[in-house]
Symmetry: C2
């Protein structure tokens, strides 16, 4: 796999430098770290922090800014940031009202974020967290016990970021996050594998006419391989699985994210969007908010994921619609 890079060992560092020069109005780097923080003035509010391995850009640094994340921690490619790095982010972002960590459900992330949380608490910073496990494709996985955390994480950033901006307390945000999490379900499919920088081979390969349902954002195995189907059938497969998770929900109103995995053209993402809309119409369930594009990628992987957020609480939609100042929302 050809990549535009210099030294694979410096790719994350150079990427961060590139982001900082390009977006110096919005973000800055905590020197000598993989922490990107926003430039807004501190106002005594709760700080929302996210992060994880790199290779999922624009997640998470692209969502740092007013109304969303206070900081993001960039680990090496597909590798959790260290507790030290996360602690740096917590300390840099803290405004005195507590820091809230958005953690995707990977064993390495959980271990390191929770260790950083303990270290911060020893320094008298109040910290809470939520573990995002929106990927319904498989139970347990290469790096996960339970369900993986994927693109639905971006909705979590947005809604909690708005709550923080509104001045809600860390306890209120914890309650909001706990209530929100069961309302977000995602599932993806891949057309190609993915190769980490410097690796000789992709972590998996698919035949010329083959796809895999349920692949994770680090190339973790999904639940079925088959011949590529028309977009409508792909949408039906994924949506049927997601919808099942919401059985018995009274309010058939949803926000949707169609998320490109890095190498999939927008044209295909919009064709798929059209099919998802048709299938939702058949169920008389409405889509009240759309987010289409590349938000939580897996380097150059071709494929996409579908996320539905059940709009159980009116606050969710209000939060999604609120303006922010970020690179990529």
């Amino acid at each position: 796999m050809k990549k535009i890079m210099n030294d694979p060992n410096k790719i994350v560092d150079e990427m961060i430098e590139g982001m900082i020069v390009a977006h110096s109005d919005l973000i800055k780097r905590v020197p000598e770290t993989g922490v990107i923080q926003r430039k807004t003035k501190k106002a005594g509010k709760v700080a929302i922090i996210s992060g994880g391995g790199s290779g999922h850009e624009p997640a998470h640094a692209g969502f740092v800014g007013e109304g969303m994340l206070s900081a993001a921690v960039c680990g090496a490619v597909f590798t959790s940031p260290t507790p030290d790095q996360i602690l740096e982010a917590i300390k840099a972002a803290d405004e005195g009202a507590g820091v809230f960590l958005v953690i995707k459900n990977y064993s390495g992330d959980i271990m390191n974020f929770e260790m950083a949380q303990e270290m911060a608490e020893m320094e008298d910073i109040s910290v809470e967290n939520i573990v995002v496990d929106d990927d319904i494709a498989v139970e347990d996985s290469l790096y996960t016990q339970g369900k993986r955390g994927v693109a639905g994480t971006i909705f979590v950033h947005k809604i909690l970021g708005y709550a923080a901006e509104q001045g809600k307390s860390i306890k209120e945000i914890k309650k909001l996050a706990d209530d929100l999490m069961p309302n977000i379900k995602s599932i993806g499919l891949a057309l190609t594998g993915v190769t980490t920088p410097g690796a000789a081979q992709p972590s998996f390969t698919l035949a010329e006419d083959e796809i895999e349902y349920g692949v994770g954002i680090h190339g973790e195995p999904g639940y079925r391989r088959e011949k590529l189907q028309p977009s409508y059938d792909l949408a039906d497969e994924l949506l049927t699985k997601v919808v099942k998770e919401f059985d018995g929900k009274e309010k058939g109103q949803f926000a949707v994210m169609i998320n490109g995995l890095g190498g999939t053209p927008l044209m295909e993402q919009y064709v798929f969007t059209n099919d998802v809309k048709k299938l939702m119409d058949k169920r008389n369930w409405s889509l009240d908010f759309y987010k289409i594009g590349n938000f939580m990628t897996s380097l150059e992987m071709q494929g996409l994921s579908l996320t539905l957020l059940h709009l159980e609480n009116d606050f969710y939609l209000e939060a999604l619609n609120a303006p922010v100042k970020t690179i990529a929302w």
Copy 2:
């Protein structure tokens, strides 16, 4: 090449439908056409229109909205829209102050847009145009006499869109466009070929370790193939060529666009951005505005383009920084 689609002959139609359902707050479709227009109220201002073949998303429909384009015409993949379609766009967008066409320099586009312009003038709509030919890679090409029009077109949309929003007359906008065009220079490189929907083969292929400099956004031949180089060397090759075009310019201030061609991860685009910044620093030329991401793509092609806009006139930077309401700016 696997693609998420249904019928390749309906891919543009279904893409447009997907865009409309997802962004119904911003855009609407002129029924039975490939024309996407903005929903803002008409206010007697000049309307800026762009368009061309599809497959370059988010260009051009992603730039329809307040402060930028009034309408975009979507042709078939890599195929100019017909004069009839362009005329529909002109009529839909006209607010009584004239319509300005942004045309990329491809023979089919020029023929069809100019024919539509004549048809509109017969209906007493005042129309002017600019032909964008920012690609310095090669002179003449598969579908072009002179230089091709590529990602610099987006800067043209932005600056003319702002001028229209400010209430400038069509004559003032024509003058602005004529002055602006020599200040925009682009050049790209490809890591992979591109396959149009339904085609059995890509239009060109590159070896596993090979790149091509100067490839066009429809896969037109570039100026040299060689082994993949480090990002810094790629940036040096492209930037040296662009900078040469600005020899003798007094004011070393520029806006830059690093544009992913569809299949290139943001990580790589930011590494490249970092290298471009270093090379500009060495020249003591400043980058006062950055735009990084996928703006003018070529379906799933891997690669990127570099655009420099010489900020000769302070109005350019003011226009670039002005807020807009679009899908993709």
